[in-house]
Amino acid sequence: MNLVYINSANGLSKAALETVTYAKKLGADVAVVTNANAAAEQLATLGAYGASVVLQDANIDGQDPSQLVKLVAAAAAKVGASNIIFSHDLIGKAVAPRLSVRLKAGLVAGAVALPEADGSTKVNVFSGKAFGYVKVNTAVRIISLLPNSIQPEQTGGNCSTEAFDSQAGSSAISVKATKKPEGAIPLPEAELVVSAGRGLKGPENWGMVEDLAAALGAATACSRPVADIGWRPHHEHVGQTGVAIRPNLYIAAGISGAIQHLAGVNGSKVIVVINTDAEAPFFKAADYGIVGDAFEVLPRFTEAVKRFRAAQH
């Protein structure tokens, strides 16, 4: 049996569907364990992605990794899990290492693909500049899957939901405040991202970035200097010290492409760079480049996307 942990506190994220799909593709039946009180009907839709049973402990809010590790360990014992899958998101990064010690089971942190024929699993190393292939030397294997590494796939099927009391005790972490912009696409999960840097000259000019993002249905991001001087919030900062993302499409306007910025975006499938400087290093990492002024190119890009969308309908 393969076991997947998902956090269903805010419904089923794309990352959750990716992990269930991944567990199904590993072979064997898939059980899902989750905290929080998502509706049973919603959890049952995981059957379409390959889950056969969902164990739900509604008494755990998901804020304390030391509770979540007990939840997943209890579920692993119940179903006899040989593979345990997390998303390599902020919760997976906190819980999967704890589980590795608790079960004395090897962890592949940040897998980007299904295991190879020799049993090793590919991960990014050196901040995306190379790949490593990790072999686990224990009978039980834990894998945290980097978001956007595989596409969720519906194979059809039904799944049951069971209440599960994991006896995980109380939370040691008390939450004082949560700041979360409403309705925004979480950057690590976004498939399309429009990003801009100091070339935009000031926060008052971000309207054209947001317009292009809205036309595409993309999330917005920014470079480090832009977050440092407070033009944009820190959670939008992508790069070595910010968030690492791997969207299908990354559009960068007015960003020169320093090595630290590339470390956060080099997993993107397609990169479009807009810069006035034809010598900007980012063009070497780009698939499509436009040498031009972002102030002129971005509005034209938005109009072109709108024409394309209108023609599709």
């Binding site: 902020l90 590795s100 962890l107 002129e296």
Partner: protein, 246 residues
């Protein structure tokens, strides 16, 4: 307040990344090692700020060989009081975390800090493993850290936002940008670092749980396709028909 800061060496950001021995080993030829930036800029500097404000002791710890003594001295020059090196190659995250846990057990550290990840293996594993081994609470990827009495307050990243949380000491915290600013060691610090205690400790008998069987490099990017800035319809068509991303 007694603070343990876990540090790791990492290749300088500008190092050329290559592999040897049939792509089974990182090629260290010509590589300059530094203290992993997240460990140094955020975990160590914040620990020093807390000590300067409230008193106490800052110990740094790493798992490695004599080759790591240079980065240990660098961290001592920045201001740590003493250092511990568990004398073994860092074979995997589990091995490193369990060695540090063995050392830290029963020593009464109020805070154990790490960087959010290393810039070489990027696993973000050691802090969580350490917390589990020591049965301590763990706040992952904190961007602010304050301590009042035995209450630790942090800001941490959550999916799509931020959260303010509190926990009672002792606890393990992994540190990210926002927590502190890089400090450049001065000459006095560098001189003092030479005589600060560096305790070399024999490793506990432990096995790694994982191994890297091989490495590979990403396929070379084909050269950029330049688009006329006056013809954005062409770009949109390419993104749809050729790249198939919209």
């Amino acid at each position: 307040m007694n603070i343990l800061v876990c540090i790791s060496k990492a290749p300088d950001t500008t190092s050329k990344i290559a592999f040897t021995n049939g792509n089974t080993q990182f090629d260290e030829n010509g590589v300059q090692y530094i203290v992993n930036p997240y460990d140094e800029w955020y975990a160590l500097v914040r620990a020093l700020e807390l000590k300067e404000a409230q008193g106490g002791n800052v110990t740094i710890i790493t798992v490695g060989t004599t080759a790591d003594d240079a980065v240990i001295r660098k961290a001592l020059a920045i201001g740590a009081d003493d250092a511990v090196r568990i004398d073994a190659p860092a074979s995997d995250a589990y091995f490193v975390a369990m060695q540090i846990a063995e050392y830290a057990k029963g020593k009464g550290f109020d805070l154990i800090l790490t960087g959010k990840e290393t810039i070489d293996y990027n696993g973000s594993q050691v802090a969580g493993m350490l917390a589990e081994a020591l049965e301590l609470p763990y706040i992952a990827i904190a961007t602010k850290l304050d301590v009042a009495g035995s209450t630790i307050s942090c800001e941490r990243e959550i999916v799509g936002g931020m959260q303010e949380v509190e926990v009672q000491a002792p606890a393990v915290i992994s540190c990210a940008k926002g927590m502190a600013e890089q400090r450049i060691p001065n000459m006095r610090g560098i001189m003092a670092a030479r005589t600060k205690p560096l305790n070399v400790v024999a490793p506990a008998a432990l096995d790694a749980l994982t191994t890297y069987s091989t490495y590979s490099m990403p396929a070379a990017k084909s050269s950029v396709q330049l688009i006329d800035p006056n013809n954005l319809d062409e770009l949109v068509a390419l993104l749809h028909n050729e790249a198939k991303v919209i």
